[in-house]
């Protein structure tokens, strides 16, 4: 009885380590590409636009876009890491081993989502370090900054995991990030304050969940937000709860994992 209820920590560790090893194998790519793209954002947005818009909410434009840039990468990378991690074994067939192993769905999720979230958090920190080379940064609420970083990484890794399980083809795997997440992120106030938008657009924007993430995250840096921090936190937790509910349903039904 006790034996069979015992969680399989070794399996969680084995999966997590394998996922991290995958990232470190392509370590150059994993570090260099965010460094380059962040630098480009600073050149294009920071310099070109920054010469027109010197500051927003009393924050220098270059510094203003840093939290948004981090969120942009955090969201897209969490989703693509986690969705690919579970889609790939499904695609090549090696998932048979996972399904035949003495692991629970919960353990599988913790390992894969943990791996994907760790990778995107590391990426976020690399972007932060790169940004610090270009603009003076300050972080007023470091605890909340880390909290938003971790919560967002976990939530969107879960979301990616769900997409990876749902997807039957590579097209489907890329469809959701491409059609939904990227537009929502760009329209989520990464590069501007939503107060700068004309009336109706400001209202529409409030239906974009990414707005709350970026606003809350930016507040943890500069103490200024588009919407109140409590609402930001609430929306983030709500989205996390929705993802957990979907995953719980996948547990119960074995949806698209076991025939």
């Amino acid at each position: 009885m006790t034996l069979r209820a015992a969680p399989n920590f070794r399996a969680v560790w084995a999966i997590y380590r394998m996922e991290m090893a995958r990232a470190f194998r392509t370590v150059l790519q994993s570090i260099i590409s965010p460094v380059i793209s962040t630098s480009l954002y600073f050149v294009v947005f920071g310099s070109a636009i920054g010469s027109r818009i010197t500051e927003i909410d009393g924050i220098a434009y270059g510094a203003f876009i840093v939290p948004g840039l981090m969120m942009l990468s955090l969201l897209t990378q969490s989703i693509s890491n986690a969705s690919f991690a579970i889609y790939f074994p499904k695609f090549v067939g090696s998932i048979y081993e996972l399904l035949s192993a003495p692991v629970s769905y919960l353990e599988i999720i913790i390992a894969y989502v943990g791996g994907a979230a760790t990778k995107s958090i590391m990426l976020g920190l690399i972007i932060l370090a790169t940004a610090a080379l270009f603009v003076p940064l300050r972080i007023e609420h470091p605890f909340w900054m880390i909290a938003f970083l971790v919560l967002t990484a976990v939530t969107f890794s879960l979301f990616g995991f769900i997409i990876g399980i749902w997807a039957k083809t590579f097209e489907q795997l890329q469809l959701v990030p491409l059609l939904i997440v990227t537009p929502l992120t760009f329209l989520g106030g990464s590069f501007y304050s939503i107060h700068m938008l004309p009336g109706i657009w400001k209202t529409i924007t409030l239906f974009n969940p990414v707005v709350y993430l970026i606003s809350g995250f930016r507040w943890s840096f500069y103490g200024k937000a588009d919407v109140s921090v409590g609402v930001s936190l609430g929306m983030t937790l709500l989205f996390l709860a929705i993802c957990i509910a979907i995953v719980a349903w996948i547990f119960r039904t074995g949806y698209r994992l076991r025939n």
Binding site: L3, R4, A6, N8, R10, A11, W13, A14, I15, R17, M18, A21, R22, R25, F88, P89, V92, G93, S94, Y96, E97, L98, L99, S100, A101, P102, V103, S104, G254, R258, N259
Partner: protein, 308 residues
């Protein structure tokens, strides 16, 4: 309790509505080598996949060493190693990483000495730092076997282990299976070759169209299945089989020009030579003669005919 796996009333209907298994009841005895013999599409992989937890059963129960595969899946699955039919491997991992990963996945503490032994036994040690993608097909299959053995299973499933495998690997594999059996591991293999079932198994279960047609000790089965036929083209048609030859199981074709003799090629005295002598003595001459083993298809047909 002597059976290590007990399958009772298991059925499987896939989402497509296809009924792949109809009421399977089967007990595998502890420490035996069991061959599941059946043509392609019979449901062998489906049955194995259910026991291993890869496919959900539609109804029925399965226990592994007394552990229900649903309620008590951790205990059941940790006893099982599976080598699937297809070569499905993460191509970018090294042999060493992949095999150690499998061991961890099944909840076993890492044990480099044991993993090294498994790799050496399978002639994979030289390749331990190679990525799976660089291995030949045969080496990949060895790797799949190493993964299945990495967590010291008590039951090993081999799904079509010799399909597309060269002679050397086949021999290595049989040697390995015998060694494992000596260590008390129960082995279940699927095959659509009678010869393979004959070479390896203690008992054979014949499966066709999702049903187990019979389960038999190998010797008994080979007596049933190992029949040969000799066809004789006669120079002159016969009206009937002469009385002097009635103790042979002879069949005369309708036009009387062909005699078919069915015999057991496992027996010490198949009677071919004496039949030919007796035919000569009876003055019956033949133009040509042809012998053949009954094919798997014919065997299934005859088995199905025997079953009520």
């Amino acid at each position: 309790m002597s059976s290590i796996i007990s399958i009772s009333g298991v059925t499987k209907t896939y989402a497509t509505g296809f009924k792949a298994l109809k009421e399977i009841n089967l007990d595998i005895e502890r420490g035996e080598i069991f061959a599941l013999l059946g043509p392609n599409g019979a449901g062998k992989t489906t049955l194995i996949s259910i026991v291993c937890g890869i496919v959900n059963r539609s109804s029925g129960t399965v226990t592994v060493d007394g552990h229900d595969i649903g309620r008590d899946y951790r205990a059941a699955r940790s006893l099982i190693g599976l080598v699937p039919q297809e070569l499905t491997i993460d191509a970018f991992e090294t042999v060493w990483a992949t095999v150690n990963y499998s061991r961890g996945l099944f909840g076993k503490a890492s044990n480099a000495a044991f993993v090294e032994k498994v790799l050496r036994d399978l002639s994979l040690w030289d390749k331990k730092d190679s990525k799976a993608i660089t291995l030949s097909g045969g080496m990949k299959r060895r790797l799949m076997i190493a993964k299945a053995l990495s967590h010291e299973p008590r039951v090993l499933f081999l799904d079509e282990p010799t399909a597309g495998v060269d002679v050397e690997l086949r021999q290595d594999m049989w040697a390995m299976v015998r060694r494992l059996r000596e260590d008390g591991v129960t082995i279940i293999l699927t095959t659509h070759y009678i010869e393979e079932a004959e070479a390896m198994a203690d008992r054979v279960g014949v499966i066709n169209k999702g049903e187990i047609i019979l389960v038999e000790g190998k010797a008994e089965l080979m007596r049933k299945l190992g029949r040969k036929q000799m066809k004789l083209e006669l120079r002159a048609p016969l009206a009937a089989v002469p009385d002097g030859l009635s103790h042979y199981s002879l069949e005369l074709s309708d036009d009387g020009s062909q005699l078919t003799y069915t015999y057991d090629n496992q027996s010490d005295r198949p009677g071919v030579a004496s039949l030919i002598r007796d035919l000569e003595a009876a003055g019956i001459q033949f133009r040509d003669l042809d012998t053949k083993n009954s094919s798997l298809e014919e065997i299934f047909v005859s088995l199905l005919r025997q079953e009520p």
